[in-house]
Symmetry: C2
């Protein structure tokens, strides 16, 4: 995947992260091991320790990568729909859904509490905070345009985010019964959920 001729890889840290993301996509979170990541990059099994304190640190880096990608897509959507606040909310939520569906196992890693709370990864906290800020931005615009109630934007954002996150999480875990999924497609369910929050019906 990278230049492997030299003793020093040159870009090992990023190569390890990419390899980890690929393994997540191809084989799932259960197959993610430091040794496999190292082998995939063509480096010895303990080479990663020059760049990551432990496995958790690699997972944190992968999470950061995931959040950055999600954040970028949220920003795109924001620019695209900021003039149409009624669609902005739905499309923002939908981007979240699409990310979770496409990067199923990366999403799982990002939110499944593998990382212990004790250790704090400042860069991760940063990008999570930025991602949440995007939700706040969307909520704020919707409030200004009479689509959402004018309550505390932070509080509303947390609740809206939870709604979206809970829905896609339960869906990914297969917890939403098929009898419901047969009657309503995912986007319809999302729409119904978001319409609980809106002052004006959106579609």
């Amino acid at each position: 995947m990278e230049n492997k001729n030299t003793y020093h890889h040159g870009n090992l840290k990023n190569a390890l992260i990419s390899a980890g993301v690929e393994i997540l996509a191809r084989e799932g979170v259960g197959a993610l091991s430091l040794r496999k990541v190292a082998k995939k990059v063509g480096v010895s099994h303990s080479a990663p320790y020059a760049h990551f304190k432990d496995k958790q640190a690699l997972i944190a880096a992968i999470s950061i990568e995931g959040f950055k990608k999600l954040l970028a897509e949220l920003q795109n959507t924001f620019e695209k729909y900021r003039a149409n606040p009624d669609r902005l909310l739905l499309e923002t939520a939908w981007v979240y859904f699409e990310f979770a569906l496409q990067e199923k196992d990366t999403f799982k890693v990002m939110f499944s509490g593998i990382l212990e709370k004790e250790k704090n990864y400042p860069d991760l906290v940063d990008v999570v905070q930025q991602t949440f800020q995007m939700v706040v931005n969307v909520v704020s615009i919707c409030q200004l345009n009479g689509i959402l109630r004018a309550a505390d934007a932070d509080l509303t954002s947390v609740v809206v985010w939870s709604q979206i996150h809970g829905l896609i999480s339960l869906y990914l875990e297969g917890q939403i019964s098929h009898t419901i999924l047969d009657n309503y497609e995912l986007r319809k369910i999302l729409l119904y959920a978001l319409n609980q929050f809106t002052l004006v019906p959106i579609q």
Copy 2:
């Protein structure tokens, strides 16, 4: 924990499940291993294989135990508040929160997608279905009493459940920023969330 004198344990299957639950509570999901569970019960490292096909099967059994406990508490709450539908919704959600907070890692195991969807555990599907049915019951009563809109009870239940589940999940993962948690306690946030759904404000 059980009679350990005889060669045959007598109640090994249940003992293994209990030991697993204890390890989850004491050391967290990262420390849950078949060998540790076996040692805790005082049995050889491969004795569990007489009762569980593999580690996933033990985890499924632990999940079932968790859902049964959650279900029992939901049923208690239902009986307690069925005459007060305005509190029923809140207290049902709160029981869900309390379970997740008390049995943090069991909750994580129940919902963190460790179990592969391919393998299906009928008993697990059963108890999950029963748990969801409790939500439907609560939602139905609330609809009959004009607390919730009279829409499809299944659809509304999925969305309400997602809201509750998303909120406590993000909280447990530490994703809800401290600036918000400093301003609002968890129950207030939950209340605000549920009031998005209700026709009449609840408190």
